[in-house]
């Protein structure tokens, strides 16, 4: 069976660190960074990128639309 691999790209400068993507992620891919972006928010980033399945749940709930999702079959 083909395995589905996903990957997300977060626009870290526009992220406001609301953490809604983190709690919406079904696989625990996303964590909040320990450092802040230019506006002083702890931005979201894919801490465990190998777990991502490209379901786009994070991108769906992101209020600021900063997440882009890529998905492929391996």
């Amino acid at each position: 069976m083909a395995k589905i691999k996903g990957s997300i790209v977060v626009n870290m400068e526009n992220c406001k660190g609301c953490e809604i993507c983190m709690v919406s992620c079904p696989t625990g891919t996303i964590s909040m960074a320990k450092e802040v972006n230019g506006k002083g928010y702890y931005y979201a980033y894919p801490a465990n990128p190998d777990l991502c399945i490209g379901c786009a749940s994070c991108a769906m709930v992101c209020p600021d639309g900063v997440i882009t999702v890529y998905k492929t079959k391996i």
Binding site: V61, C62, P63, Y70
Partner: protein, 259 residues
């Protein structure tokens, strides 16, 4: 950070699964972190994009947090006086009946100062789409009590909770307009989880398609959070909304067209 094996190879244009639509401009939203407005804007923009209505759309923005909507949506927007968006939308639709006209209003705008305009526009059955963002308070001005504030809910002008004896009962605008003969499709949704976002997007798409039939007003209430006004973190506010707002404002369709 993203150095794990194979991840770089996935990030290619042909593997794109989801990106923000181009109808949302690149301006940074002025909303607080975690605010439902951004999600509501984005799914509305996605539906306009998918239905290829960008040049046909005229929006009416309210007074409230979303007053700056023209900065974020790349469609024609008219700003209306406080609460008068349905009246302005009525005029636009009557002068240009071929356009798709929507209003986007908060609860302080639609349910307080604009009650008369909303009810009469819905009663006349104007062919407009009204999107009603209900977060139970006046978010922009600092979290004052609104007509939609729940009984016992704390706000900056009801610091001990809303007492229905002295402050009146909350107003369920959506239930009221669902009883009017002019409305065609009335629903209540939310945008706090991926599943709810998808449902809301489906509801907006349905409403946009019903607008083409010229059958009457479509009214979509989106129960949203206001982390700053409720003095909570975004995640806490979503949980509080599920536990406290949803029992009073149950999600689902209130009026669907008879097939």
């Amino acid at each position: 950070m993203i150095e794990a094996t194979g991840i770089k190879e996935i990030i290619k244009p042909e593997n794109l699964a989801y990106r923000k639509t181009d109808i949302m401009t690149d301006n940074i939203l002025s909303y607080c972190p975690g605010c439902g407005h951004g999600t509501a804007h984005r799914i509305l923009a996605e539906v306009i994009d998918e239905e290829e209505l960008q040049s046909q759309t005229i929006g009416v923005s309210p007074v409230g947090c979303s007053v700056m909507m023209y900065n974020y949506l790349d469609v024609d927007i008219q700003q209306a006086a406080h609460g008068r968006a349905p009246a302005v939308a009525t005029a636009i639709k009557r002068l240009m009946p071929e356009k798709f006209v929507f209003t986007y209003q908060g609860d302080g705008d639609l349910a307080a100062i604009g009650t008369a305009e909303t009810i009469h526009a819905c009663n006349r059955g104007e062919n407009i789409l009204i999107i009603f963002i209900n977060n139970g308070i006046y978010g922009m001005t600092g979290g004052q009590m609104a007509p939609t504030t729940l009984p016992g809910m704390k706000s900056s002008t009801s610091p001990f909770g809303r007492d229905v004896k002295t402050m009146g009962n909350p107003l369920k605008m959506t239930d009221i307009v669902a009883t009017l003969p002019g409305t065609y499709y009335v629903t209540r949704q939310s945008v706090h989880t991926p599943a709810n976002v998808r449902k809301t997007k489906k509801a907006i798409r349905k409403a946009v398609q019903y607008q083409k039939l010229d059958k009457g007003t479509c009214f979509i209430e989106i129960v949203a959070n206001c982390p700053s006004g409720w003095k909570m973190t975004p995640v806490q506010s979503n949980k509080w909304m599920e536990e406290t707002m949803f029992p009073f404002y149950p999600l689902g369709d209130l009026k669907t067209p008879e097939e």
